[in-house]
Amino acid sequence: MMNKVTIEIDGKKLSVPAHYSLLQAAGSAGIQIPTLCYLKGVNEIGACRMCIVEVRGVRGFQTACVYPVADGMVVQTNTDAVRTARKNVLQLILSTHCQDCLTCEKAGGCKLQDYCYEYDVDTSAYNGKNNEYIIDDSNPFYYRDNNKCIVCQRCVAVCSVLQCTAAIGLVDRGFNTFIGADNDKKISESKCVSCGNCVSNCPVGALTPKKKVKFREWEVKATRTICPYCGVGCELFLRVKGNTVVDVVPANGPANNGMLCVKGKFGYDFINHPDRLTQPLIRKNGVLETSSWSEALALIAEKIKGVKQINGADALAGLSSARVTNEENYLFQKLFRAVIGTNNVDHCARLCHASTVAGLATTLGSGAMTNSIEEVTGADVIFVTGSNTTETHPVIGAKIKQAQNRGAKLIVAEPRKIELAETADVFLQIRPGTNVALFNGMMNIILTENLQNARFIAERTENFAELEEIVKNYPPERVAEICGIDTAKLREAAIMYASANNAAIYYAMGVTQHSTGTQGVMAISNLALLCGQLGKECSGVNPLRGQNNVQGACDMGALPGDFPGYQKVVNPEVVAKFEQAWGTKLSSAPGLTVTEMLNAASSGKIKFMYIMGENPMVSDPDTTHVAQSLKALDFLVVQDIFLTETAALADVVLPAAVYAEKDGTFTNTERRVQKIRPAVLPPGAAKTDYRILLELMNVLDYPATYADASEIMDEIALLTPIYAGINYHRLEQKGLQWPCPDKQHKGTKVLHIDGFSRGKGLFVPAEYIPSRELPDAEYPLLLTTGRNLYHYHTRSMTGRVDGLNALSPASYIEINPVTAERIGVSDGELVRVQSRRGQIETTVRITDIIEQDIVFMPFHFAIGSANVLTNSAVDPTAKIPEYKVCAVRIKKK
């Protein structure tokens, strides 16, 4: 029972929770109290003095935002005295405020303007002096104009409490107080990560986005939708003027709680970019020429039929997309399975979390994040490994820091001293590719110290004996040697994890993208099972998915062995069910994976490929091989929003709509199916992917008659047990987390509470096997790859945002100073990097966040592309390539 108290506000008797502030209490009764500085849970500091009220029996005014309710309290929020005092405060604030309301970008959305109107405040009250500040325009995305700042500190709180970057604070004091970066630096020289959450929360015009298109607050309409970048699934509002997205502001979504990162907040220029594809293109005489939809679709249909007739359906293959909606992924795999007749359908999950899907499905029965994003802040111990969370999943990264600020301990195991490592309680700087040894070593220590959860092991797991047998071979000294870490720190990490009440593991590609990726994932699963950190809140094994809908694309069966909902192609009952639903004969032979498709293309087995929203020419390992494979095809269809490096090789290019132009759903990393909504119309003749797909199906004489995306979801729900309870109506509020087996089910926040999806948790221990290609005399350096904060995947979107390019303009290679000196290269120098597969040119960035003889490159850039160098050796189970380890050498130019 929640403790309640009875109070009276403006004559209304209310019963409110005892922990409420007066502001909350008044709000619950619909009584509006003005505020300027208040941000719920973030900035409750009573600074602006606007929320003052009178409390009977208490001398003076009290600030409602922080004043706790008490039983019997009698409050007046709007007396003459209160209103006069507020007016006086407003007069004072206005006397220091630059009053360029006519030209101010915030006019119409400015709280100070609104209150001055409401309280009849004009500018005549005081003619005092004011400080004059130079506008800080050093950040590519926003201005800080302290002449308009009211020092409410909302930005400061957002930066330190929510984003946990603490780039800005109050400088100087008294009348000269202003908000700035530490030591009064420019924003661009501070720790600012350009998340823009401060801009979103500024109540006045002190922080305004640098607008490409000028607009007035009243000229735009807002559409609530989901961010198109990483897998966090932040909810946001697209603000649209005419048919142009002109601004993005965060929504209070379940995954993001009002936060966004730099890409989500400012990376929207690609939507209305002139480079967008607006017409279908057909290659004629070697040149891509504009065509009509009917011509393009007819040509594709003709090629599909031709190849199928001559080489059989398995000579066709399709790459679906982690970028498009669930509905579109569903249609794409249906196109290949039901219309073309092959299971040769896969997508880039193969390249990121295939090992997770395979590994966790084996050990737990379900290959997805076991817990939810909102639980990040509740964990006692957080173990981050193989994830540079603050850059790749910035909002989750911020939540990990929030958890730390609330007292959670943080363990980080990473090859680079990433941002989270700086504040971690234990940082293990492991050699890339040694994850299995690391986790085995932790388990060895836990068993030696007898810290395992014996009851959990006995009741909820199987195959413990084998684990003990294998882990025995990993004493800390050996593991420390393999991983290149300190034994004592390894022990500290193991004990910290095992002793926690609730310990959560967050991992990503640093674990999965290895030739032993599946073993790495299963080793993590073993560790969590050993300590009973599964099936409860704020714990679990949490793979962080990299793309907006990579979880959904997997869920929808854009996988060669799985129908939607991970129903197996090899299961005759499943095949029968889909044959009946789709009214056609289906193949029961698992298809080819991404990596296998490309090999098959180069060897001539695959003749036709249809690539929707993917760019393997930059994203896949060993680019030379990829190009050669794609060029070997008889026919290549690429459906995308820009003429990507891959689309440039296509025979037909189909112009698709972006997320902001369509209806549908994305499933985020925490299995939450969320609604996206169209805000603008597609440019030219571009169409939504589902419209293109269903038109193609119709051209291929397969009747597809969905009136809109919601009908596709209804069909998905019908055939996919984990999505059975989902329809658009139910998704309107805050989405649903699968499994959601029926229309009454509220969705599943935590997996495996009552039992694992497979019954018991399975220990699958593995020996440590070194990476396939290690440095040697010829190629002495170990290259590992990853992302950075400012770019997304192959830059087809972020590369078209000027500000992001300004912050991260080109390819680079991170080198330890000692290594750099040995090779004789200096910071900023253009060098040639060579591997056994190719060579590229890139710029040296000398940094001590990386250890000697290990180098790091982001894979985003097509020029100086890391994937020219990477090794396409794959994990035998999941077929995921070993992006994270290969051998290279650096030559001076």
């Binding site: 500091i45 009573g46 600074a47 602006c48 003095r49 003052i52 003076g60 005014f61 009290q62 600030t63 922080v66 004043y67 706790p68 005092a85 006086n88 405060v89 004072l92 604030i93 006397s95 220091t96 005081y126 005092g128 002096k129 009211i150 020092v151 500190q153 604070g169 109050l170 100087d172 004091r173 008294g174 009348f175 000269n176 107080t177």
Partner: protein, 626 residues
């Protein structure tokens, strides 16, 4: 130290060595016979700044030179309060005080006084215990009552043994071994002690709030962030008797069940800080701080946290924010620190002077303490007396002593025979007291009633040459400078008030300015977040209350009667007195004076910057202000 008996052993052993400092007239003979003497040299900040360190060195050298080490003990001690007369040297057992001692005087004190028993007349100030005599010194001390400052000037602050000798840590032993925590609080409550930081909140009540929380983590904080201009009460306790604070804080910890405490000291107090750290180290070494104090089972740790010297950090919630590592900014209360303070844990916070009273209250009992002072303001109050007064320094008086007694009896009156105009108590948060109210008793409620406040103990005396508008402006300049900037009324409002005062004092005042000042003052008082902001208008309001005519004169007649406001005055050379010596013209920094031996000199008032240099240089006193 494992038992209270060990404490008693130390006390007796040390007392035997230093009891001559407390010698009564009867015992003098006895002590003098064995020819021992203690030479106490003030090493407070005031006397240190007038070279007392060199004096100490000189004494030591001379003692060695004469081979007197056995007989004469040189002791550096804390402040006796006679700062205007510093450096001060006292010789026991005779209680003989030497004032304004110079290094060159030391040889005479040693060779005449210590070797021959002859007082050095030219620097002799009087005998401390000679109440009957009518010397300046006896007048200064006779109306004082030193409880918080009891050991200042009497012991070496760097010696824990000397503190113990004069009953130090005896109150702690009494509390730990004979009193329950509740009994300690009861005693403090009954003593009537109120917060000496300025608010005057009953200390016992504060302690009982903090005690009432069941939280296992609590903190005891000492506010040693004394920031009023000219105030140095707390600094003097820290410099002269740091163990008194430590002992009190341990007692407070015991009373409220806290085991950890911090002293928040500004880094601008280097001597205080050094002595406090030495004292903490000694207390830890003696087992008086730390685990299982004197075997009682009670544990308490105490450490120092440094402040950067922001006035606002004396506000308790800002002080807490600063200890937590944040910017020192106040937050609204409730919740009060006693419920949710440092790290959101129940926190007791008192200032140095408040704590300094505690050991005596516990040791001698609440009724002893409450026998001093007035009904609602018990005990004593320390004031740092400054400004236009003869005995600038530190005084401790029973509550209820009148302002007149402080200024004329203890303080020795106004220098140069000038008339008293007003006194400011409560620093920038307080108000002025005009001559008509000189007989106001100095206690919390009387001061509030006349529009001022007790404050932490700053007492600034102003004579007839003071412009009250200028004084108000001075205090506002201070608060504008020291405002943390968090809330608009303080950040902007005080600045706007100051701007009006600047206008008025530069002859640009307009009708309606006074009303505007009053209006702004009310807005700030009622809407500012913390005590600093809410009280910042007080100097304006109280000067308006008693000296409104001065404001009106400035505004309507563009006149500053006290001849302080530079823009409203003109320097003029009286032609009949001027002998055309040319000194004024020679020293004028802006070349505003011209003339020659024949014509006499005149001041070009457009060029003149009213620095006043010429007035001082004129041998004929021919230059005056009009």
């Amino acid at each position: 130290m494992k038992t209270a008996e060990q404490l008693e052993q130390i006390r007796q052993a040390t007392l035997a060595r230093i009891n001559l400092r407390k010698a009564t007239s009867n015992s003098v003979v006895e002590v003098v016979q064995d020819n021992r003497a203690h030479v106490m040299i003030c090493a407070g900040t005031g006397c240190t700044s007038s070279n007392s360190e060199a004096i100490i060195k000189e004494f030591n050298d001379k003692i060695v030179f004469h081979g007197l080490e056995e007989r004469i003990t040189i002791v550096k001690c804390g402040c006796l309060g006679l700062c205007a007369q510093g450096p001060v040297v006292i010789i026991y057992p005779e209680n003989c005080l030497y004032k304004t001692v110079k290094v060159s005087d030391v040889v005479d004190i040693v060779e005449q006084h210590l070797l021959r028993g002859k007082k050095v007349g030219r620097i002799f100030g009087g005998n401390l215990n000679d109440v009957a005599s009518e010397t300046e010194i006896s007048k200064f001390f006779s109306k004082q009552l030193r409880i918080a400052l009891r050991n200042c000037g009497l012991i070496n602050p760097e010696s824990i043994d000397e503190y113990i000798a004069f009953d130090g840590y005896k109150a702690l032993a009494k509390a730990l071994f004979t009193m329950s925590p509740a009994k300690v609080i009861e005693e403090v409550f009954a003593s009537g002690l109120r917060g000496r930081g300025g608010s005057g909140f009953p200390t016992g009540k504060k302690w009982s709030f903090a005690a009432s929380s069941a939280d296992s983590d609590k903190f005891v904080l000492c506010n040693a962030d004394e920031g009023d201009p000219g105030a140095f009460m707390d600094r003097s306790v820290l410099e002269g008797d740091p163990h008194a604070l430590i002992e009190a804080m341990i007692i407070a910890g015991y009373a409220i069940c806290a085991h950890e405490g911090y002293v928040y000291v500004r880094i601008e107090y280097p001597i205080a800080l050094e002595r406090l750290n030495i004292a903490l180290e000694q207390a830890r070494n003696y087992g008086l701080l730390g685990d299982n104090i004197m075997g009682s089972g009670f544990s308490f740790n105490l450490s120092v946290r440094l402040g950067a010297g922001a006035f606002v950090c004396g506000e308790e919630t800002a002080l807490i924010a600063s200890i937590e590592g944040g910017r020192g900014m106040p937050r609204p209360r409730p919740p009060f620190p006693a419920i949710q303070g440092l790290w959101k844990k129940p926190t007791l916070i008192n200032n140095v002077e408040t704590f300094a009273n505690i050991p005596n209250i516990v040791l001698r009992g609440s009724s002893w303490y409450s026998s001093f002072g007035t009904e609602k303001s018990r005990g004593t109050k320390v004031f740092a007396v400054g400004g236009k007064i003869n005995n600038t320094g530190l005084v401790e008086i029973p509550m209820g002593t009148t302002l007149r007694e402080v200024i004329y009896d203890i303080g020795g009156g106004i220098p140069n025979g000038k008339a008293f105009k007003a006194a400011q108590t409560g620093g920038p948060s307080g108000g002025c007291i005009p001559a008509a109210l000189l007989d106001t008793p100095m206690d919390y409620d009387s001061l509030i009633a006349i529009g001022s406040m007790m404050g932490s103990g700053g007492l600034i005396v102003m004579d007839e040459d003071t412009c009250m508008v200028d004084i108000a402006k001075f205090f506002l300049e201070f608060t504008v400078e020291e405002s943390c900037g968090k809330c608009p009324p303080c950040r902007i409002g005080i600045k706007r008030m100051l701007e009006i005062l600047e206008r008025i004092t530069s002859g640009e005042g307009q009708p309606g300015d006074i009303e505007k000042l009053q209006e702004l003052a009310e807005v700030i008082k009622s809407t500012a977040l913390c005590g600093l902001g809410q009280t910042a208008p007080n100097p304006v309001l109280s000067t308006l209350r008693y000296f409104r005519h001065e404001y009106e004169e400035h505004i309507t007649m563009k006149k500053c009667a006290a001849k302080v406001c530079k823009k409203l005055i003109k320097y003029r050379i009286a032609a009949d007195l001027c002998k055309s010596c040319g000194l004024c013209a020679k020293f004028c920094p802006v070349g505003a004076i011209s003339g020659d031996r024949k014509t006499g000199h005149i001041i070009n008032t457009h060029k003149c910057v009213r620095c006043g240099v010429c007035t001082g240089k004129c041998p004929m006193q021919a230059i005056g202000i009009s």
